[in-house]
Symmetry: D2
Subunit: 132 residues, 4 copies
């Protein structure tokens, strides 16, 4: 099972007038973690796109447990519990030290440039099954 | 039952290199619709905050059905199916003409400035029960 | 001389923890005004791109005079003082009622898909010279 | 003279449909560099705000020389050429390897919570004069 943790530091731009990080910006942090997950298995997303594989988000959710604030270091752990040929379902937990900030999920499909669903690349499948 | 439709026009800034609107930006559009919903019942969110009522997002989800592209006019319909004292659960559908773009949900709690959960303001409850 | 005014309403997402709109977001509002300018002369930017004309920002500046806040209605006036074949230089003023919020400028070049500088489209030149 | 270099990695969210980073997002990268500059002299911006010092942007400009693309590592060098009691004027260069991506400037004033201009904190002045 793949599992990678990435740290992000909350930017001022990501906060809102409530003094906390705007909820929609968490999805950018999930992206950062996802990019690192793909790096870690030798499938950088940039190369995937260059090879004609796109991985759009087809569903996402986030449950906010405790606010993230400016300058906080948030650890975003992403894991791929089960490999599913049709969908890539990722789960995330966001923590600040011992405090749970949020839980989240994203689902993706591999598509080609025209948006047609295609098989995942072999390297991705192999690494996702064997773990890192 | 409250139901309000708002049109947004997709900004270039909201697109990404896949040529479509970035998934995280949909949550900003939901915010725009929510603001209009509150306007429509005489509870502008700005005034709510001035009166000490904050309405943070505590959960959100979105299912993407068809891409939104630059300059598209997207109709965002938000409705409040049932009034629940503890949580405000909103549902959204996003359409472009006849095409369903996305379905989404957000959950909110009324909190005071310190983040403590409080009762919704009376005006909100009355309007939410009676509809518009 | 072309001159168009567009109103934007400040989104919560555009604010930061200082309680005001984040400075970088003003450039998105300038974009919205620019899109309306192009609409007004029958050259929607979407169509320009479809016809192979891209208009990236090659320089921008903004001077902030008074803060823009959540829910403010900001009038963004854009004008094209002089038509210059090589560069499109736009000037903007942002006001809230009688209050000046900001002055800004952007410079653009027409380029093709590969990024090579090209002549502006004829429709644009004609309208830009004759005004609306 | 203070000078600090920070690396950022371009996020997918920061790109637009032209396939490059959206011009307005560069100002967020400048913020990241500025935060590191303040860290480097023992004046973390978070602490400045906690002590009643706010440093809003009152002017900014950016000149784009070469596009930044998804996944690029951009080195953002910020320096403070001269200490000026009334304004903090910062200059930035953004490079990708040997390639100049952009030059930029931001001007700031120290203000209190109510927005009134105040003297810079002593620690900032001392470090800014003596360099690191």
């Amino acid at each position: 099972m793949l599992r990678v943790t990435t740290s992000i530091r909350v930017r001022y731009q990501e906060t809102d007038k409530m003094g906390i990080a705007y909820h929609g910006n968490y999805f950018t942090w999930l992206e950062v973690a996802r990019i690192h997950l793909l790096d870690s298995i030798g499938c950088p997303y940039k190369e995937l796109e260059e090879n004609g594989f796109f991985l759009p988000v087809i569903r996402c959710e986030c449950e906010y447990k405790s606010p993230a604030r400016f300058d906080d270091i948030i650890d975003v752990t992403v894991h791929l519990p089960i490999l599913n040929q049709a969908r890539v379902n990722l789960e995330y937990s966001l923590t600040k030290g011992e405090t749970l900030i949020a839980n989240a999920k994203t689902s993706h499909a591999f598509v080609d440039f025209s948006g047609r669903v295609i098989k995942p690349p072999g390297q991705f499948v192999e690494k996702a099954i064997n773990g890192i």
